[in-house]
Symmetry: D2
Subunit: 317 residues, 4 copies
Amino acid sequence: MTDAPAPTPSYSYLGPAGTFTEAALKQVPEAQGTNWRPVNNVGEALADVVAGRSVAAMIAIENSVDGGVSATQDALATVPGLRIIGEYLVPVNFVLVARRGTALAEVRIVNAHPVAYGQSRGWLEQHLPAHGHIPATSNVQAAASLFEEGDRADAAVAPPGIVELLDVDVLARDIGDNPNAVTRFVLVGRSRELPAPTGADKTSVIVELPDDEPGALLAMLEQFSTRGVNLSLIQSRPIGDALGRYRFVIDLEGHVRDERVADALLGLRRFSPNVIFLGSYPRADRREIQYHSKYDDGVFVEARDWLRGILSGEPEA
Amino acid sequence: MTDAPAPTPSYSYLGPAGTFTEAALKQVPEAQGTNWRPVNNVGEALADVVAGRSVAAMIAIENSVDGGVSATQDALATVPGLRIIGEYLVPVNFVLVARRGTALAEVRIVNAHPVAYGQSRGWLEQHLPAHGHIPATSNVQAAASLFEEGDRADAAVAPPGIVELLDVDVLARDIGDNPNAVTRFVLVGRSRELPAPTGADKTSVIVELPDDEPGALLAMLEQFSTRGVNLSLIQSRPIGDALGRYRFVIDLEGHVRDERVADALLGLRRFSPNVIFLGSYPRADRREIQYHSKYDDGVFVEARDWLRGILSGEPEA
Amino acid sequence: MTDAPAPTPSYSYLGPAGTFTEAALKQVPEAQGTNWRPVNNVGEALADVVAGRSVAAMIAIENSVDGGVSATQDALATVPGLRIIGEYLVPVNFVLVARRGTALAEVRIVNAHPVAYGQSRGWLEQHLPAHGHIPATSNVQAAASLFEEGDRADAAVAPPGIVELLDVDVLARDIGDNPNAVTRFVLVGRSRELPAPTGADKTSVIVELPDDEPGALLAMLEQFSTRGVNLSLIQSRPIGDALGRYRFVIDLEGHVRDERVADALLGLRRFSPNVIFLGSYPRADRREIQYHSKYDDGVFVEARDWLRGILSGEPEA
Amino acid sequence: MTDAPAPTPSYSYLGPAGTFTEAALKQVPEAQGTNWRPVNNVGEALADVVAGRSVAAMIAIENSVDGGVSATQDALATVPGLRIIGEYLVPVNFVLVARRGTALAEVRIVNAHPVAYGQSRGWLEQHLPAHGHIPATSNVQAAASLFEEGDRADAAVAPPGIVELLDVDVLARDIGDNPNAVTRFVLVGRSRELPAPTGADKTSVIVELPDDEPGALLAMLEQFSTRGVNLSLIQSRPIGDALGRYRFVIDLEGHVRDERVADALLGLRRFSPNVIFLGSYPRADRREIQYHSKYDDGVFVEARDWLRGILSGEPEA
């Protein structure tokens, strides 16, 4: 009797093939040679993870031009049991494509995902001042729609890799308004095992502020500053039940196994009515975290030993 | 010889008629009986103001479910010379409409503006579990598309007022997931005259943090807390040139003619490489601002008199 | 064979009998019926404790008019191994006494301990405008000196109890300038056993600030405020090696066995190059400590459990 | 007809000649060649100033070993109309002197001012373990008393310059426990004219905290930190009416004519129920004040101009 072979694991991503999300997934060594499940949106990607259909999902979380991806931030705040296990950066640039034989001068209507449209608007307004816009659900779908019956678009904004997927003419390259645009992706799974600290880690949390406390945001930030923990991201999102109620999406420098980070999280948990720990994981840029030596692990350990001596009544060493 | 009659002023808003933005504009007494210019997006609305085609534009700035409207926040940060002169709230709820004679059971594809879709998704997934989604550029356009040639949608998510504009059947009412959802609008003009303080005012600013200063956000918040000024909104937006660089969109309680607010703005200006003053204006809810008497105007005036006495060398009174 | 009886314990205090310090010692139940060792100054009192000649010493630490007692504060900072085990308040008022038969009008020179002199100066300047002052080493000694050969004083400022010790006439009562003056005493021993928390406790520490850090005092205070710990005393004392270098004598509300206090002490220890824990003990006034419920012990325990779950990789409860 | 010659001004100091206070006064160029009035204590010195008998008084305010001089700090807090106009440092060291022909071995009783005694105690306990102590009102008086009838002292602790005043034998030199001990003096007058800023100035204030506000000290310190103003001294003194009520004696770096200092004082005045401005004056060590360029005068002026533009409704430059 032999064991059945372990099933090949799956990874979910915003499809179809050719999206920036797929480019992010290509950066994950352990995902190579596995099943890749293209999905239509963040909700489906995370549902795959929750249901166990995929071991992880790659989702966009922030764009250097457009800001945080609200759908992702809100999903991470409300779907329980998720953990970020990795971070990936993908440079973002766009081409304008059309069905074979189309000239730029003929383009009247452009199909584009709203984020891509926003990032190419400068170019489009300059070169196609009278164009109309049809929104698409993904960058690849924008181009694919050119071949759908009844579609009224003449051209589409798409990622450069689109030429490998579709038979299109490229009318213009590098039409993004910001040549340094980059999108940040996170790989999200369910495993509660913490990746080992690397010295170049990030920790993500979502924090609700206590109600009706002027200065609550200040008090929250002091939980970090008083332990020498820097934030690389802080973004407010509405909780959704009433105007003026927010939760904060926070990326902080360091790993929960770093003493200063663990102590800051303790302070945060005591302070906040709701803290969601989203994981500690290596930074995409692998840049080592800098912090003052007074927040070294050893300083925390020594202070605990000192306090333990006081509480136990032992004479000081 | 007689004077030519003054031309009727114009107000721009996200059209067509029937949008929530139009509902906001209906709340503005001085806009009644003027020309209303429907436009396609925030950029066009603000361009009308900048070019003098409209005296003001009504634009959505925040939704209680979906959060800040990025396009609005970014436009206010980058288009110079604008001032917010009023704030308006519009309750948000949705109906599902279709061409006459359509039954709910027949609906396979739904046309909806992405924000409206996000706010109705719970209802849609429950009642139309197999539906597909086509995104629209506005809530009214979603319904209007039902009558366009080649459109594949069977129903649309629309504001309740749609029935006055289009000949549709209402398949369901109140399909928004959050019955208290509300959108906040601001009226934006070019006049540099400050509305008079009412005791129930807001002041909006956009603030860039100094570079490379851990704790800069904390230091910025102290500029407010040390003068007893509460914030009703603080939201980060990417500056757009690189990941990790943010500006903050801030609404604070009070009017720039309140001494504590003026002093906080001074502190902010000294602290920040870039502060954009967007205006002081009455709050939509007309709720009087509460603050500790130690931040009264008189306290500021008295302190200045005291310091002036010291600097002038006069004996203390 | 029988055990030798345990020797009667001794308590040291600033003598001779009749001083305010003796009045404080009379408030200590466990000191009644033991040996009381009168000493000449704080140094001798603490030396008795260190050498084991006394189980504890009663020493003045603060006066409501004159402030902290520098000699006591400096001794607690430099003599190792001491612990405060109790706090006592003694109302301070003074009488003017003289050798039998002296009239007030005859008094030209007054003997008084400098602190007592400072607290009676208003009365003395009003009633004896031309008097001279000879300083004494204690309040009782001032009166006792009236009977020493060669002494030039005609009257002495002394505690009311002096009439039980010396054969003097009381020329005036209640000559202290502040009728509410009170002196705070502490009982200091060597035992490292912590008194049990009573809900009305104080904790005393002496803290050195890190060098050359503008804002170090602010950062130290945040260690307390961020845990909801109030200070009832903070006083700077020179470290003594150079101008501008200070240590801080701090009394904080609560017991080291209170979680919020323990956590604040951890933060303090990590922050400071030198923290001396002087003890947790019941307040003299037995007033229960008030603090916000968000700093309850349970909040700290729950946060630790939460973090432990994250670190262990267990699923959240 | 001729003018009467202007009377020679007087300076008061703690006498007699030979004290450290006189050494401080010798450092004041404008005091040379004037009348010097020796007085017995701080109160008399300040009374001379208030009554116009002296243009200024030199008084000790802090000792590097012994800390703040309480009598001086309290007098500055309670005598109205005083201003510090200069700061002076005097190295402190002591000799042990006796009547001609006395041997060290013969010394049983030592006369010493209490501060001097405290600073020489280490030497005295080592070389004269069985000595007694008689307190004196000044360092010079301690030695002078050796020649008074009935005095029981055999030796006195005195400043080195005593040999120029009295016919004594020096039994030991440099008996101070800290070779770097220094006393800080201030010159106090009534003129309300501010000394011109030098770039190396100090400003002294006395500040009362608002009642019953946990965190009030923190809030006070933020008034300085938020304007980049460093403190060189902060010391609590009891207000005197009840235990637990304090005022703070503060020296801050900079001159009230520096914008950042002026703004901090405004904040302080608004915050505190009672601020006493004691003056801005050149530091004794003439060390230039360092501060971040973001707190330059120009930054404050620019921010005011910006705010003025907003309030006036003028278009931005």
